[in-house]
Amino acid sequence: MAMEHFTSAIKGAFAILSERVNGASNGTLHTTRKNALANLIEAGMPTPRHEEWKYTNLAPLLANDFLPAIGPSLPVTSSILEGLPFADLDAWRIVLVNGVLQRELSALPTDSTTITIEEFSENSPVGQIASTASYPFVAVNTSLLWGGVVVRIQANAIVHKPIHVCSIVQTDVGNTLSMPRILVQVEHHSSCTLIETHHTVGRSKGLSASVTEIDCAEGSSVAYTKILDDGPNGHHIGTTAVNIARAAKAMATTACLDGTFVRNDLVMRLNEPSAEAYLYGVSVLNDTQVADNHTVVDHAAPHCHSEELYKGLYDGRSVGVFNGKIFVRQDAQKTTAYQSNHSLLLSDNAVVNAKPQLEIWADDVKCSHGATSGQLNEEAVFYLQSRGIGKDEARGLLTYAFAAEVADHIKHDEVREWIEHRIAEKLGARQFDH
């Protein structure tokens, strides 16, 4: 019931939005919306019988009757940003409230020759990277696409200042569904750092169905970090889809640090020779938190390289999922693709489901995957104790070191240190002295 109710709410919101569109109802963008809604209605909401949703049942989540919201439900002031991370970071800042850009809260470039940030127009090439047919929540987002932004990094530009997308679900009027949408066009031989954070602000529950599309042109380079560190009202189902062209390099780090429910779909397509993809993930969960990470690395061209490392620490009755697919298409000879996934179970009641999937059609490739799950190595704990480090502290240090290995890959100092600090804080562990 909850599932049908959710789909009808999207249909209802689409009808209202269609009236707003007015004269542009046959434009590119509205056609994209209509097609997305058709995909959504045809496929419906996924149940655990759906292979990609096997470990995560959406019915209890969608029973919260989230109502789609486009833009703030109440007037927004800068107080909505209080306590949110990276407020002091020198960054281009894109603040979205219920999916709609808030110019007065953002820090946008006005006359930069290297970067432009603009709201979608009816002709924006949005929806070409993330698939509405395969990803039901991309269909949800795309059906109600409104108010998101296009970030364009000009060719040959090195943008040093990070771009921080701060997406807020404002839930003061009731359980709210928000659909933030970003398209990042990284033109040839340019480079940038993107940070994406999601927050729920208000008394009721929030669900953000976010979509980020990143197009990396030839020779470009992107470092993307997505942080889920929301409060107990926070729920998130987000998709990030990245196309990587010749000799371009994309690195994505996904940190699930807090919030009740998180599902991330990360899709990296290596479309042309010599493309590189790096996928890192860390989940630190407790209580009844859920973090479900699905990744796809699609090697469609020869001489490409991908590396993937996901780690999870699960305490309480938390549930972690890692499903990592690697496709190596027939043309993708000389591919090197490595995946590893390691989990630490910190309580007897925590659960992790790990599923590596490699599908290889090319015959001259190097691919590997490895997955482990278990408890902390007690011999290592004793080793630390024998050097005068207390048992609890030894456990904390080892647990922290396990998780922090992922953060090590983040090159931006402030972002890496922030994540390390939050991992230590959540584990109640001290970091090793530096």
Binding site: F382, G390, F432
Partner: protein
């Protein structure tokens, strides 16, 4: 003149999973001394080291261990370490994600805190690490590498002695530190230990073979067999064992009761 022994083990009985391995060990070690514990495999040598260091899976059923006059059987492994007991592991553990430098720094600061000393300043700490690394001929690059990860057998053992040098224990127990070492590594490790000897500390060398004792010369050699010390003597006892083999001890010692 008699002083309180540094280590006094009295009629120690201990075992694992209900099986008694140590069947009445008594041993007195005074400051400034080097003791060697020798014996065939399975005689109880490593169990003794484990019980001293406080491994939880071993149960002490009777007897006592006092260190500097304090009963250490009631202490956690970390408290024993803070009191000045150091064990060089037979199999040092690999710990990915923790650099050797950060690990040693954390341990040293814990010790200093326990001894009521202020934390070492970063520059002083770095200088101390450099000095102690030279002692065991370790390259600086080991400091930034994950602890023991991918280290060779010899590098791991040298790292143990480096940690000993940094922590400056009153009693060092070297658990088969010579196993798996080539002659150069053996010499480096032994010279490191010798440099660290003072009149105020003591070393207990646990070994199967006599060769390490050419470098770390013991004051007393004990032979352990079937959970008991069956013979004690000077350093010449080690040579006698080397020559005659452990069967000599086994044949001369009372069989299991």
């Amino acid at each position: 003149m008699t002083t309180t022994p540094l280590l006094q083990i009295t009629d120690l009985h201990a075992g694992i999973e209900g099986r008694e391995i140590l069947k009445g060990i008594s041993l007195t070690v005074r400051a400034g001394e080097v003791h060697a514990i020798m014996g065939p495999n399975g005689s109880g040598k490593s169990t003794m080291a484990s019980v001293l260091a406080g491994r939880e899976e071993y149960q002490v059923t009777s007897g006592s261990i006092s260190f500097n006059g304090k009963d250490i059987l009631e202490m956690s492994p970390e408290d024993r370490a803070r009191e000045g007991v150091f064990m060089a592991f037979q199999y040092p553990v690999e710990i990915p994600g923790v650099s050797t430098a950060n690990f040693v720094k954390t341990a040293v600061q814990e010790m200093r805190k326990h001894r009521g000393l202020p934390p070492l300043e970063p520059a002083a700490f770095l200088a101390l690490m450099r000095e102690k690394m030279k002692l065991v001929e370790m390259d600086q690059q080991f400091l930034s590498r994950s602890l023991n990860e991918g280290f060779s057998g010899g590098e791991k053992k040298r790292n143990e002695i480096f940690q000993m040098a940094m922590l400056d224990p009153a009693l060092a127990v070297l658990d088969e530190t010579d196993s798996g070492l080539d002659i150069d590594a053996l010499r480096i490790v032994a010279e490191g230990v010798n440099t660290l000897r003072t009149k105020d500390n003591a070393v207990v060398v646990i070994t199967h073979y006599q060769r390490l004792l050419n470098y770390i010369v013991p004051d007393v050699v004990h032979v352990i067999w079937n959970g008991r010390i069956v013979r004690s003597g000077g350093k010449e006892l080690a040579f006698e064992l080397e020559e005659k083999g452990y069967d000599w001890i086994k044949n001369e010692s009372p069989a299991e009761v």
